[in-house]
């Protein structure tokens, strides 16, 4: 297939192929669409199998009984999940594992982490607030340490994705005295959390969360003095996996479009015989190559990107990725004609998934503003 690519390592190849095989056999658009129509969306249908197949061990380090996959390996897995519109919260899982592993809280590592890797614990990230778009300079959610060592956390977080059946919420808050930032891992059933659930544009469960948490045990504090760089690195990782997901969507969109143009006849000819349409498909392919190259460039370089200049490159490449993925889904819809603008074909769902990916952990305007 023209969209195949050379994998960086045997493990990335093996993981991607395993994910691909499982999802081809077990996840199809028809059942996905039926669940949306019947209002029975379940983002965790295959989660247990993800655990059984060992995929949830992929982001964890060797010392935590994980596989220790690189960003590149994880991106290869996520590409396949994007292709098949998988609803399972794999990206969030990878980020949550990495956040807890990087903390100095051994209790969380010993109690919460193993159950995450077994698929029993699920975490969601509560990071962004309506009043600051994606900026973390002035987040309003604040924490205060009580005399007995426990914490109070107050604030409102928006656009919390992958919220279905979560056991813990990973909340970023700041100290109301010193403005230092800190992550907390709050059990979902802790008093003082209220939820406003809804389905996201990409058909995945989301929520806005209001926190008025009192007396949170200090064992749920992930790490004090979280630096902006640490948060930025986590968001870089999030964007890379999202971009890999969009890459999967784009591969699928090009395949579907090329097949449609070959099959569909108008004016007694296959649509693929019309030069103006051929040029559009060629432009989609060129854009896809950019997406592929930039996604894996990001994945391979993320661990070493520490300088300001390198961070700028991440922002710039995100903008370029977002523009190209948008181009691909817009043209895929155009070339499918009317059916592309309906819910009845996967094209529209792949498009909406890319739209969501392109504004989940930062968007074009925000990244541009960081380099203007």
């Amino acid at each position: 297939m023209f969209t195949d690519f050379n994998y960086d390592s045997e493990i990335s190849k093996e993981l991607a192929q395993t994910v691909s095989k499982y999802l081809i056999d077990n996840s199809n658009f028809h059942s996905h669409y039926q669940s949306i129509k019947n209002n029975t969306v379940d983002a965790l249908t295959h989660w247990e199998t993800y655990a059984e197949l060992g995929w949830l061990l992929a982001p964890a380090r060797d010392e935590n009984n994980g596989i220790g996959c690189t960003s590149y390996d994880l991106a290869c897995m996520q590409v396949e999940m994007g292709k098949h519109l998988a609803l399972e919260p794999f990206t969030t899982h990878c980020l949550a594992v990495q956040l807890i592993e990087s903390s100095d809280n051994s209790t969380l590592k010993e109690t919460v982490l193993p159950l995450m890797l077994a698929g029993k614990n699920l975490c969601a990230f509560a990071i962004f607030e309506r009043a600051s778009r994606y900026s973390l300079d002035n987040i309003e959610t604040e924490f205060k340490q009580n005399k007995n060592g426990s914490f109070n956390i107050c604030g409102v977080k928006h656009y919390v994705s992958d919220i279905q059946n979560v056991t813990h919420i990973l909340v970023l808050a700041h100290d109301n005295q010193t403005s230092e930032k800190c992550w907390f891992c709050i059990p979902v059933n802790h008093l003082g959390i209220s939820f406003n659930f809804y389905l996201g544009t990409d058909d995945k469960p989301m929520a806005d969360l209001t926190f008025d948490v009192r007396e949170l045990d200090s064992k749920f504090k992930i790490s004090l003095n979280t630096t902006d760089l640490q948060v930025t690195q986590l968001l870089n990782q999030a964007n890379i996996l999202n971009n890999a997901d969009s890459l999967g969507c784009c591969i699928q969109l090009l395949n579907l479009t090329a097949q449609y143009l070959l099959d569909r006849k108008q004016f007694n000819s296959s649509l693929s015989s019309f030069q103006s349409l051929q040029h559009i498909v060629a432009d989609m392919f060129i854009a896809l190559q950019r997406v592929l190259s930039l996604t894996f460039y990001q994945a391979q370089s993320v661990d070493t990107l520490l300088t300001e200049h390198a961070q700028e490159r991440i922002y710039i490449t995100n903008v370029e990725l977002f523009e190209n993925t948008q181009f691909i889904f817009e043209k895929a819809i155009q070339l499918h004609g009317g059916i592309g603008v309906t819910e009845e074909l996967s094209v529209g769902h792949l498009a909406k998934r890319i739209i969501t990916n392109n504004c989940r952990y930062g968007d074009k305007l925000f990244f541009l503003s960081q380099i203007e």
Partner: protein, 400 residues
């Protein structure tokens, strides 16, 4: 926009503004702002239509004797511009601007008396049966057939992308009444009551989660012969006339200008980061300026064309030019709106989902994403923009 209006036109302009300030009430404007798809909500559009009909302004493409008004193209232009500025809903064109003019041009006097008053009053609500599952841009290949048996047409086949079929009590259809070597020659224009036995309507939900479109199935549907418009085989002529009206009769720039103003306002309220609003973004400023200039060009192109029509100029490829420019501007504006709302584009407020996963709390920016998603169809319907470019090129070469 420099209009250079005559005294008579200035007088009309004032009358128009006075009318809008009295009749276009706030509730209509607010409801209209919620419109995200191609057509306004049926009840809203009919409410506005009844006010215009009372004033005698609803049927601008019709002769006075049928309830229309003899406006010059400039008057029609001013009307569209002022309505858009004031936030009036779009009139549903299916009856007033599409089947109505076809009946007037090709129908019998009996048909005109029978159908036109109910179109004007809104008592009859029409949908269009043109496209078929196998015939999109290649309309002439349509297969839905009507056979004459015992003094009635028997219709079998299906139509797709039928906007508001679920609200309509009539459908105007292109049907094949004869197999001819030239496919266009065997097509006829037939009016069919939607409550006829053998008609079923299947909803098609758009990617924005809205229900405007449908597929309509005909199974041995009996239709009176006096519902045939024009002669048998004259359907293609009717269709071409109607498509020209569809592409050229409206003034799109005014509503695009309103959208640009609305986006501008959004940039003043949406956050770029914790300290700045979106309107401080260099990229956004540049894009707004660029779209403003492009829209300015389009406004003047449209107005220039209206003036030419005023002096007897006949339409050629110009509808294709206008359609291409208008729809691509519409998409560019919708894209910018989604960029402005940023993270809010993760939420698509769906009407249909309200149980296990309720819809997100509505927000005043919620129009942007559905508008963007629906705008993708603008370069597909009424002849794709690829087809429009073919027509423009053909005309250029023919005149070179």
């Amino acid at each position: 926009m420099i209009l250079n209006l005559t005294d008579e036109e200035k007088c009309f302009h004032k009358e128009l503004k006075d009318f809008l300030s009295h009749e276009l009430t706030q509730d209509i404007v607010e409801e209209s702002l919620k419109t995200t798809s191609v057509f306004a909500d049926k009840d809203l559009a009919l409410k506005w239509q009844s006010k215009l009909a009372k004033q005698g302004w609803a049927a601008q493409l019709w002769p006075e004797k049928y309830g229309g008004i003899k406006w010059t193209p400039i008057q029609k232009y001013l009307f569209e511009v002022e309505c858009a500025k004031a936030g009036a809903p779009m009139l549903i064109p299916l009856g007033l601007k599409m089947v109505g003019p076809v009946i007037i041009k090709f129908g019998t006097e009996e048909q005109k008396e029978r159908f036109l008053p109910n179109i004007l009053s809104g008592d009859d609500y029409w949908c269009q049966g043109y496209s078929e599952p196998g015939s999109g841009s290649d309309l002439a290949s349509l297969r839905c057939k009507a056979e004459l048996k015992d003094g009635k047409f028997i219709v079998n086949g299906s139509k797709i992308w039928t906007t508001h079929a679920h609200y309509s009590n009539w459908i105007f259809c292109l049907v094949r009444t004869k197999n001819t070597p030239k496919p266009q020659a065997g097509i006829s224009f037939l009016l069919i009551p939607m409550n006829s036995k053998g008609i079923t309507v299947r909803p098609i939900i758009s990617i924005s989660g809205e229900h405007d479109l449908n597929e309509v199935f005909f199974e041995d549907v009996q239709v009176d012969t006096n519902n045939l418009i024009g002669e048998q085989g004259q359907g293609w002529e009717c269709a071409k006339y109607l498509l020209t009206l569809e592409r050229g009769a409206s003034v799109a720039s005014a509503r695009l200008r309103s959208t640009l103003i609305r986006i501008n306002k959004l940039t003043e309220t949406e956050q770029l980061d914790s300290k700045n609003k979106v309107n401080t973004s260099f990229y956004v400023k540049q894009k707004l300026n660029s779209l403003d200039a492009r829209l300015c060009a389009f406004e003047n192109t449209e107005f220039r064309l209206q003036k030419q029509i005023n002096s007897g100029f006949d339409y050629g490829f110009e509808p294709s030019l206008l359609k291409t420019e208008a729809t691509e501007l519409e998409q560019a504006l919708a894209e910018l709106a989604v960029e402005v709302i940023g993270p809010r584009a993760q939420i698509l407020v769906r009407d249909s989902l309200s149980q296990a996963w309720p819809s997100a709390t509505s927000d005043d920016v919620d129009w942007a994403l559905p508008r963007y998603l629906n705008s993708r169809s603008a370069t597909i319907y009424a002849g794709t923009n690829e087809i429009q470019r073919n027509l423009i090129a053909r005309s250029i070469f023919a005149n070179t």
